[in-house]
């Protein structure tokens, strides 16, 4: 098993763990943490898709000869995408936590089971 596969497996495992948290925890903060873990897993999977064994980072310092760049570095695109994904994940999580703060003020409860006034 090579590094990429291992990172993939870790990433997917994190996703499963996160989902487990989202599906079984009553506490809304834990649910958000579950989602955050899922996001981390996804980010890990994303970068590992760009990884090529034995190559260097996509920075053109002295280690990289400019004429052979494409045979020396790993894929920079997933790295760029992951950055965006991370920032967006942060934004969503922060906003979700804010909702929980406000919900808690209304009912003094963090259990998701207590917020079912809208249904059917």
């Amino acid at each position: 098993m090579n590094i990429t596969t291992i990172v993939h497996i870790i990433g997917f495992a994190l996703i499963i763990i996160g989902f487990w948290g989202m599906l079984t925890q009553k506490n809304m903060i834990k649910i958000i943490l579950g989602l955050a873990i899922v996001e981390t897993g996804v980010q890990l999977v994303m970068v590992s898709f760009g990884f090529i064994e034995g190559r260097t980072a996509p920075i053109l310092d002295s280690a990289v000869e400019l004429s052979k760049v494409s045979s020396l570095i790993v894929d920079p695109v997933p790295q760029a995408l992951v950055l965006t994904a991370i920032v967006i994940g942060v934004a969503v999580n922060a906003l979700m936590l804010t909702f929980v703060i406000r919900l808690y003020q209304q009912k003094r409860s963090l259990s998701i089971n207590d917020y079912k006034e809208l249904k059917w």
Partner: protein, 1049 residues
């Protein structure tokens, strides 16, 4: 053309900068906010007109100076222009609606709003799949923030559920995108489409595609992973939900639509099925809802399901662009404006129960947009939704996807049920104190703008449709003109209406021949005289005359129709206008609902029938009616479906449950129109259908034979039900059903004699029911009741009405000398000639039984003892009397000289069935016998006069007796009720024959309705309200879909 990148730049730049101005107060920031929105609208408008009117071609806008796939690019084509245009304009309206709320919250809410609009514009324009994700997140996060803005518990909890769902969706989207990138090496959608066929690692490719698609399906709020969305629609401030339901789903739809070219056929089929399932099931679940906002939530989800399904279907069959323009855009625009407007109205009327909406009936500013938007949402003409559905049926018919048509129209019918039920409460519900209106100017302005824009688009669609010539709108003009003259008194409006009919007659009749001439004469002539009765009102009758003229106009238009589209268009207008006419009755809410649901059901069956017919035609051509005869394959299905549609209109057996209550609850003079004019629409339909298609056979079964029996059973059933009625109008309603049954029976013989009999009966029935319903209307007008047993002895008070009823029942029961005799004579001749002896017997029996109810009209209302409370009643107003006597004169003329009428009928029938009656002087000869109306009339006259004279000579001296100067069995009655046996007059018969009139059919339909409600109710239980459960459903749904589409292979 302004570079569309400026849409992004303006919204972002202003969004970033706006907080710095917050010190200047919301007036300043609000002004900047609107300036930004308006400038964005201006850019969109420029592109929109460029594409729609000018010859603008689609352009690509690159960023950073590189071409894709190196950099991200945006596209501005026709579809993008339409979508961004509608999004930006709707955003402007939404901003107007929400302005007060946002101003109270502060400048930051403006920022969120601008960035939400930015996200949607980007979502529509971008051609890069990862950029699509970014814009999706911009939209979502801005929307979440706006949802929570009011800090109410419901908004917050709905928002939290929304965010969980959105979070899961973006996780899958990211996974999908990176997998697609790993196999294609690009993020540009167009590039991907090119590379995908060459990808070697099919497994990863398919899973990537699936994940992207599934994520967007969650965002599209598809069943069953959409509980969070429906909760949000219910719980969040209506200003925002209206906007999200419109522009939010619009943007997301465009995003998913963009990915369709990448998808394989399996995934597209899956999407089409999911969408249709959502459409059907969500509507079913909507049935049980009582909260207007939740109703709209279910309806929104359903509509998006439909749009998704059609979009996927379009790519699946490779006719994507055509379907987009002809089906998706109208459906989308319709949903877009109607749904936003309705949500906003729901925000103005603060009630969580639709039963309390009766309060708005006196508030025209709310009511009129509400009516328009509900009608648009149901997809009635002339609104874009109608054109979308019509074109869709055309496409699906042409490609033989009949099951889809069934689902489409079944779902639409269910949607119509709950929307019209709600409308019914708004029009007729009781006043309740608790409901308050929020009459903020900005909110009403937004609703007004949306409604007028929708109307404008509706007019645009109708006028530009090639299949409908502008002249086609002529019959509707007077109705629309009258709509703008509500202030005139009823008498003047009646006069205008009559003039309008005269003009139509002058315009249309000379060019016509055959059955068209015959029916147009009936529709126009009958209405012309009946309108006199409507002028009795001393008030203004606001709304009545426009509707009446629309109904009459639609009848004329229906006769004029050259192609199936025109026919169906007119048919739907007729249904709607008559629905509103019935709704005008005092307690007509339920009756009108039942009427319109049956009518729409019938109309949809007709449409399905057309759909089957389209399968053999090229779908770009609207099928001319005359070509219905040319179809081969599905001939009998087409015939049966369309027939059932017509049978609904004429209340054929099994489909008649609406007739009693609708006729009873409508205004009294309206009922005369319904019975004597409107019921002939179904007959006309049959005439056209049979003339063009003939009556096909299925194997050995001759549909004509079946139809004949349907007619016969309708006749006997209507009559039987009629005799047990206590209500005069209900009695006449069922009588009407029975009488029209004869017509069907006669036409089913498919012989010249039969058709002559049928058409003769059409005229006869039109005249008689006009007389009887107007006479009864006059009586009700004076007595205030339609219960016959409460009346009695009115002969002295209302002699003219009495005489008219007398004529009416003689004519209806088919005894000599009046026209009814001719009708029956011809009918029996035709049936015997055909060899249908049993049917003859049934008809004869029904005709005899008809005497029983005819007798009641005379006996219970006019004879017997006068009730004390009616001792001061006067003769009915002259306005009622005039048309009755005009009809009597016509009946007398036709009775004396049947040739006058029969020649007209023969003129129409002869070219098709050949000569069936021959004439020697005034005597008509058929193959079986002869009839001379003049002689019969004279004989009867002689007998009548002779007997009267004899009676006068022979009779002993007349002694006048006072009312209670009588003794029964040693008792002296003191109240009129004791002397006049009227209540449950035929109770003895009921004991013997009552089982025949048990309301089996009614029970059947009730069960149908109940089971639909129950299924909907149990299905919606999956929406537990728990955000975690929703997350579970989403994941579960994803897994199931994965195994269905990807996993199996």
């Amino acid at each position: 053309m302004v570079n569309p990148i400026y849409i992004v730049a303006i919204l972002l730049g202003v969004g970033f900068l706006l907080p710095s101005f917050s010190k200047g107060g919301t007036k300043l920031t609000g002004a900047i906010f609107f300036a930004a929105l308006i400038s964005v609208c201006a850019i969109s408008y420029q592109w929109l007109t460029g594409f729609l009117i000018g010859d603008q071609v689609s352009v690509m806008i690159f960023t950073a100076g590189f071409k894709p796939p190196i950099s991200i690019n945006l596209q501005m084509g026709m579809f993008e222009a339409i979508f961004t245009g509608s999004i930006n304009f709707m955003a402007l309206f939404g901003a107007i609606y929400m302005f007060r709320q946002m101003a109270e919250t502060g400048t930051r809410s403006f920022v969120l709003f601008l960035l939400m609009v930015l996200g949607l514009n980007g979502l529509v324009m971008t051609r890069d799949i990862f950029n699509l994700f970014v814009f999706l997140e911009i939209t979502s996060i801005a929307t979440y923030s706006l949802i929570g803005m009011d800090l109410k518990l419901k908004s917050l909890s709905a928002g939290f559920k929304y965010m969980i769902a959105g979070g899961i969706a973006s996780v899958f989207l990211l996974l999908g995108i990176i997998m697609l990138y790993s196999v294609t090496g690009t993020l540009n959608i167009d590039e991907m489409v090119k590379i995908i066929p060459a990808v070697a690692n099919i497994k990863i490719l398919t899973i990537g595609l699936f994940l992207v698609l599934f994520s967007l399906i969650i965002e599209m709020k598809q069943f069953p992973s959409n509980g969070w969305a429906i909760d949000a629609y219910e719980g969040v401030a209506p200003g925002l939900t209206g906007l999200v339901a419109a522009i939010g789903t619009g943007g997301v739809f465009f995003a998913i639509y963009k990915t369709f070219p990448m998808m394989n056929k399996d995934l597209l089929s899956m999407t089409a099925v999911i969408g249709m399932l959502t459409f059907f099931v969500s509507n079913l679940m909507g049935l049980k809802q009582k909260n207007p906002r939740r109703i709209l939530g279910y309806s929104s989800v359903a509509q998006m399901g439909l749009i998704l399904s059609v979009g996927a279907w379009g790519y699946r069959t490779g006719a994507a662009d055509e379907i987009f323009m002809l089906v998706l855009i109208p459906l989308f625009i319709n949903h877009f404006f109607a749904k936003a407007g309705l949500f906003w109205i729901a925000g103005i009327v603060k009630s969580e129960k639709y039963k309390n909406w009766g309060m708005i009936k006196n508030n025209k500013i709310i009511l009129i947009p509400f009516i328009i938007l509900v009608l648009a949402l149901i997809g009635l003409p002339p609104f874009p939704g109608f054109w979308g559905k019509w074109n869709l049926v055309l496409f699906w018919g042409a490609t033989k996807n009949f099951t889809w048509i069934w689902f489409l129209l079944a779902g639409s019918l269910i949607e119509a049920v709950y929307m019209l039920r709600w409308l019914g409460y708004a029009l007729k519900g009781e006043d309740t104190e608790e409901v308050k209106f929020d009459m903020t100017v900005s909110k009403n302005l937004a609703v007004f703008l949306v409604t007028s824009l929708l109307l404008t688009i509706a007019v645009y669609y109708s006028w530009t449709n090639e299949a409908i010539a502008p002249i086609y709108y002529l019959p509707f003009t007077v109705g629309l003109a009258l709509f703008y003259l509500p202030f005139l008194p009823a008498k003047i409006k009646g006069f205008i209406s009559m003039s309008g009919i005269a003009v139509y007659a002058y315009y249309f009749l000379p060019d016509q021949a055959g059955f068209n001439l015959f029916f147009n004469t009936i529709f126009l002539g009958g209405s012309f005289f009946l309108i006199i009765a409507t002028m009795h009102s001393k008030g203004k009758r606001v709304g009545f005359f426009p509707l009446l003229m629309l109904m009459i106009g639609s009848l004329v238009a229906m006769v004029e129709a050259k192609n199936t589209l025109q026919f169906f268009f007119a048919w739907e207008i007729m249904t709607v206008s008559s629905y509103f006419l019935i709704m005008r009755g005092k307690k007509a809410q339920k009756a009108a609902l039942r009427y319109v649901i049956f009518s729409l059901g019938g109309a949809f069956l007709i449409l399905i029938g057309f759909g089957y017919a389209f399968s053999e035609m090229h779908h770009k051509i609207v099928l001319p009616i005359s070509l219905l005869g040319a179809i081969e394959e599905n001939k009998s299905i087409v015939f049966i479906l369309i027939s059932i549609g017509f049978l609904v209109k004429i209340a054929g057996i099994g489909l008649h449950t609406w007739i009693g209550s609708a006729y009873k609850k409508a205004e009294d003079d309206t009922t005369a129109f319904l019975s004597s004019i409107l019921s002939k629409a179904g007959i006309f339909g049959f005439v056209i259908l049979i003339l063009i298609m003939g009556i096909p056979k299925i194997g050995k079964i001759d549909i004509a034979y079946v139809l004949g029996w349907i007619g016969a059973i309708t006749a006997i059933s209507g009559t039987m039900i009629a005799i047990f009625q206590e209500d005069a109008k209900k009695l006449l309603a069922y009588s009407s059903m029975g009488q029209v049954g004869y017509i069907i029976l006669a036409m089913a013989t498919m012989s010249g004699l039969g058709w002559t009999a049928g058409m003769y009966q059409v005229v006869n029935h039109m005249l008689i029911k006009g007389i009887l319903f107007l006479a009864i209307a006059g009586v009700i007008y004076r007595t205030g009741t339609s219960k016959m047993y409460k009346m009695g002895g009115l002969i002295k008070k209302m002699p003219l009405s009495y005489t008219a009823v007398m004529f009416g029942i003689i004519a209806i029961s088919g005894v000599p000398p009046l026209t009814g005799f001719g009708a029956k004579w011809l009918l029996y001749e035709a049936l015997i000639e055909k060899g249908w002896y049993l049917q003859t017997g049934v008809a004869f029996f029904a005709s005899t039984v008809a005497f029983l109810y005819c007798f009641r009209l005379i006996h219970t209302i006019f004879l017997g003892q006068a009730k004390t409370e009616f001792k001061d009643v006067k003769e009915a107003p002259v306005w009622f009397i005039i048309p009755q006597y005009i009809f009597i004169i016509i009946i007398m003329a036709f009775s004396m000289k049947p040739k006058l009428l029969l020649d007209m009928i023969t003129f129409a029938v002869k070219p098709i069935f050949g000569e069936s009656l021959s004439w020697v002087g005034d005597t008509a000869f058929s193959s079986l016998g002869y009839w001379n109306g003049f002689v019969v009339m004279n004989i009867v006259m002689v007998l009548f006069i002779g007997l009267t004279v004899l009676l006068l000579i022979k009779a002993p001296k007349v002694q006048k007796v006072k009312q209670f100067n009588i003794v029964f069995a040693g008792e002296r009655p003191e109240t009129p009720e004791l002397t006049h046996f009227a209540y449950q007059f035929y109770k003895p018969y009921y004991r013997a024959l009552g089982f025949l009139v048990n309301p089996r059919v009614k029970t059947f339909w009730k069960n149908v309705s109940n089971s639909a409600h129950t299924i909907g109710d149990s299905l919606r239980k999956i929406y537990t309200g728990n955000g975690q459960t929703y997350a579970f459903w989403i994941l579960m749904y994803g897994l199931i879909l994965f195994f269905i589409t990807v996993g199996v292979k």
